[in-house]
Amino acid sequence: MSVARADSLDSKELRRRSRKAKVVTPPPSRRLRVPKPIRRLQRQAPMYAVQGLSALSTRLREMTGRDVIDMNRVMEIVQFVYQQRQLASRGPDYVVDEFGFDAQWTESLLTLFNVMYRDYWRVETTGIENVPATGRALLVANHAGVLPWDGTMIKTAMFAEHAHPRHVRALVASLFMGMPMLSWFLRRTGQTVGHPDDTRRLLDRDELVLVFPEGVKGTGKQFKDRYRLRRFGRGGFVATAIRAGAPIIPISVVGSEEIYPMVADASPIARLFGLPYFPITPMWPWLGALGMIPLPSKWRIQFHPPVHTELIAAESAEDQSLVMTISDEVRNTIQKGVYENLKLRRGVFV
C-alpha cells in the first residue's frame, strides 16, 4: 500500500516537476526595438573600432617608423568612456562625504586632467616629496589665470607624481559657490567654501587643504602684472594652520599666467553679472566658446619644504604680528620660487 502511495505521490511530483516553468517575459518596451543584428553591431562597434585603430596604428608605425597613434592613450579614452557610463548608472546609493565630495567620480575625471597635465601643459613638478603621505597639511599657492586651472593641476600633480596619491581639498571664494554649474562641479570634486570653520574641519579630518590667499585678486590681475604676487589677505590661513596644528607647504606655480592673457577687465559687464571681473583676452570674448580654450603654455610646479607651523602653540594664533610674519615668509618663499622657475623655463610655450 505504502509503496503504491509513494509511487502515486512520486508520479504526481514528477508530473508537477515536468511542467514547464512559466517564462516571465518583461512587458514590451514602448520604445522602438531595433532588429537583433543591428543591436549586436551596436554592442560590438566599440570593439571593432579599437581593433581597426590598432591595425591602423601598426600600419602607420611601419610606414613612418614612429608611434603616430599611441594605443595606450586610446585605451585610456575607451576606459574613461566606459567608467563614465558605469558611474551614470550607479543609482542614488553612491557615497559622498559631508562636504558633498564624490571621490569615485573625481578619480574618474583624473584621466582628463592627466591629459592636460602631461600633454597639454607638460607640467614639470619638483619637491613633491615635501607633501606628507599621511596627516594634515595646508598647501598655499599663488593664484593666476582667469579660471582656477592651477588648483586642478596641483590636485592632478598629487595623483600623478606623489608616492601616496591623495585628494587635495581646495578652498573657494563663496562667490563661486553661488554660481550655477560651477558650484555643483566644485563641491562634487571636493572643494568647499573658504571659511575658517571649513578649513579647521577639513584639517581635523587629516586632509590636505589647498588655499590661495591671494583669492580673486590673484586670478583677476592683468597680464602686465603677471608673476607679481598680490597681498596675502590678513594671514587668516596662518592662524588656522597654527590652531589646527598643520604644517604649511608653500607652492609656486609657473605657467598659469599665460593660459588666458588678460589685457583688460570690463568691469561694467562684470558688475552686471555679479562677477568679480570680466576678462578681455586676445581670444575672449571675440571667439566665443573657442576663447575659453586655455593656451598651451609650459608649466612648472614647485612644492617647497614645509613651514612647521604645527610646532607653534595654538594660543599664538592670536598673536597678529607672528601670524603676519609667517604669512610674509610664506609669500616670499612662493615669490622667490616663481622667479627661480621662470628662469628654469626656456620659453613661455616650450
Binding site: D93, E98, G100, M179, P180, T192, D197
Partner: protein
Amino acid sequence: MTPPALKSHTPQRVLISGVSNPLGAEVARRLATQVPTLFGCDVADPVSAVEAMDFVHADTRHAVIGKLVRQLHIDTVVHMAVKVDSHGDDRTVHETNVIGTMNVLTGCAGPSSPVRRLVVKSSQAVYGASPAYPSFVTEEVAGSDRHAYGLKRDLLDMEQLAQEFSLRTPGCRVCILRLGYRVSEGTTLGQYLSLPIVPTFAGFDPRLQLLHEDDAAEAVVRSALNDHEGVFNVAGDGIVLLSQAIGIMGGRPVPLLPFYGRWIGRLAMRAIGVDLPGHLAEVLTFGSVADCSRLAQTFRWKPAYTTRAVMDSLARGRDAEVIDSPSPPQEYELQVFLQRRRRLAGNSLRGTPALTLRK
C-alpha cells in the same frame, strides 16, 4: 550670586502650547509618562487624546498663558505653537510666531511667575541658505542676513524675544531648539521630494540635512526634562544630495527651475501644487547643513536617525507609525468624558479638577 530658583529641578507641572500639531502631540505622548502633571493648550482640537493630559482651548495670540501659568502653578512651559511649515498666509504665521511667543513670554515673566524652564521650538529655517555660509552652520550664524524677510525674519524676531526674556528673567532657563528640516508626509519638503518628476534649480545639487519626527520629539522632551540653556541645532547626522534624495524616492530630478529670479521657479512650483516658501527655495539651491556638535556635547545625545535613514524611512512609508491618524471628534470627547468621570470617582492623585475652558 546665583538665584535659588536656578537649582536643578525635575519638572512637576508642564504646559505644552500647540499640542494639536503632530509634533506637539507626539511630545505630549512622550512627556505624559515622565511628568506627574501635564497640561496642553491649542487653538484646534488635539489630533489624538493623551489620557494623562488636561487639554484646554487657548490661543497664544491672546494673553491667556499668564493666567493659565499662575493658576495651574506651571513650572515648565514647552512652547510648540510656532508655525514653520504651514500653508497659512504670512500674516497668520507672523501673528502666531512673533506675537504668540511674545504673549507666552510675558505670561511667564514677572516675579509671581512659577515658571522655571521654557522650551521654545524654532527651526533651521532661521538660517535660510547662502553660499557664503560655512559648510556647517553653527548657532552663531543666524542673524547675519540683514535682509531676512518672511518666516526667517519671524523666527529671528521670535528667538530674539526669547533671548531677551532669558536675560531679563534669571530664574528661568530658556532652551531654543532649531529643529532641522523634516520630510514626513504633509511637509512641503516631503511633498516636493515625492513628486514623480522633480523640477530642481538648474545647475545646483545642494546637500540636505534632515531630522526624523521621532528625533524631533525626543529632543524637545529631553530639553523639557533636563537643564539645558541656550540655542541648539537639532538635525540628523550626515548629508544626502538633493539628486540622491529624489533618487531614493524613485523620482527623477529635472533641472528646470531658473537660478536667476528664483521667484519664477516658486511660481512654477505653485502651479504644480507645491508651495515652496522663500527659505526652502534657498535651501534647494545652496543647501543647508547645521553643525550639531553643541547639541551632542550638552545633551549627551544625538538624533538616532541619520539623514540617509530619514530618507530611507520616508521612501518605505514607515513614517505613518510616527504620527497617528487623527481620531474622530466624538472619540476625543468620549475620552475626555471618561477621564473626568475617573477623576470625579475619587482618584485624587491628580491635584486639579478637570479643567475645560471652551470658547
